[in-house]
């Protein structure tokens, strides 16, 4: 098979080598060349200036791409930086105070992370890893704020299924009397929380199965988010 192939190839080579190619007369080619050179006089400037324009366009295009990349990079930094600050703040709080805070509760302000935990405003400067704790200041609530806070409380899942202690049955405190509504302002973050105090029943004591005490329960309402904050 291989020998046969080889023979065929040799035969084809022989055929192709034997082909005589009719030469084009040199005068004819010279004529075409002269025509082209005459045409080239017009074309040369056009092609070279076009090349220059293409080079300028390519340069501008490259600069444009670089500018777009830089802008995108800067924007990505703007969006990702707060996330990294939140991560660092959560880490510092966990290490120094032993609390675990959720990233969504951390407010980032000028590279400083602020979180409200147990009615304290904890400010963490991640550069020098310092922690400052502030108590909220009481402020005068408007009627509108009061109504909104009460409405959030009455409609909340937390009030409708209030569990006093783990293991005790849930109770609905959403329709109970409201004893007080107080505005709390956290100075560093300017965050406002509204404290709503209402009543609930304590769990029945073991000795007197039917005796239940009325107790006061405190709810913290975040009216910006429309939620109850623990």
């Amino acid at each position: 098979m291989w020998r046969e192939d080889n023979k065929d190839i040799e035969k084809m080579e022989k055929i192709l080598k034997s082909i005589h190619i009719e030469d084009i007369p040199s005068e004819e080619i010279e004529k075409y060349k002269s025509e082209f050179k005459a045409h080239l006089n017009e074309k040369f400037e056009k092609v070279t200036s076009q090349k220059g324009r293409i080079r300028v366009f390519k340069m501008n295009f490259a600069y444009g791409i670089v500018a777009v990349v830089l802008i995108l990079f800067a924007f990505s930094f703007v969006y990702t930086r707060p996330y990294f600050v939140k991560l660092a703040v959560a880490k510092v709080i966990e290490n120094k105070l032993g609390y675990k805070v959720s990233l969504k509760d951390i407010i980032v302000n000028d590279g400083v992370g602020i979180v409200i935990y147990n009615l304290d405003e904890i400010t963490v400067d991640i550069l020098n890893k310092s922690i400052e704790t502030n108590s909220p200041i009481q402020y005068e609530l408007s009627n509108e704020e009061k109504e909104k806070a009460v409405e959030i409380f009455r409609n909340s899942r937390e009030a409708k299924n209030f569990v006093l202690n783990p293991g005790t049955p849930p109770q609905d405190v959403s329709k109970n009397d409201i004893l007080s509504v107080k505005g709390l302002l956290f100075p560093k973050s300017n965050k406002k929380l509204i404290e709503v105090i209402t009543t609930a029943y304590s769990a029945p004591e073991e000795s007197t199965q039917y005796h239940r005490n009325v107790i006061y329960v405190k709810f913290l309402i975040d009216i910006d988010r429309g939620t109850i904050q623990y």
């Binding site: 190839i9 084809m12 055929i15 082909i19 190619i21 080619i29 025509e35 082209f36 006089n41 040369f44």
Partner: protein, 175 residues
């Protein structure tokens, strides 16, 4: 002035470019003619080859000669021309209208006859066979022109010969 200096000058200087045209026009024209067998088309494609050379002088690398570089450009220009022709289906019409007979192909064989078959081969095989048999270039030269390895050129060459033979046999020619 050596070839490379001439190229550097020709980018901006019309006289220097004219010199390149003077030196290489004939060779490029002949090569294109051997692939197209049409003087008018060859004239246009040669012109296109030199204008492309003027546009892309910055792509010229000193390791090959100007002639080989121009052959490379001419190869692309001719291939592009054939692709357009195939799109317009003219090529197939031309191929189908050639007379069929059962003579041995080496009786009265001429370039026009074999050219019809060569132009039906894949692009690279056409180029390699034309450069080898009708431009008398070596495998090394062809490798430089097409920017490929000598081995790959050799393989394309043998594949081209086999395909050419098969096409002749398919049309009833006996060896």
């Amino acid at each position: 002035m050596d070839e490379h200096e001439l190229i550097k000058k020709a980018i901006k200087d019309r006289e220097a470019f004219g010199k390149i045209v003077d030196i290489y026009y004939k060779d490029v024209f002949k090569y294109i003619y051997r692939r197209t067998l049409d003087k008018e088309i060859t004239k246009d494609l040669t012109q296109e080859t030199f204008l492309n050379a003027l546009k892309y002088f910055h792509t010229y690398r000193e390791e090959s000669s100007i002639l080989f570089w121009l052959f490379g450009i001419a190869t692309n220009v001719v291939n592009l021309h054939y692709r357009k022709e195939i799109d317009e289906r003219k090529f197939f019409e031309r191929y189908e209208t050639h007379s069929k007979n059962n003579d041995s192909p080496d009786d009265n064989i001429d370039f026009k006859f074999i050219h019809r078959y060569i132009t039906t081969l894949p692009e690279m095989e056409q180029v390699v066979l034309t450069l080898f048999f009708f431009e008398n270039r070596t495998f090394q030269d062809i490798a430089l022109i097409l920017n490929r390895s000598v081995n790959s050129i050799r393989k394309t060459y043998y594949r081209g010969l086999k395909n050419l033979k098969r096409k002749l046999e398919n049309d009833g020619y006996k060896f």
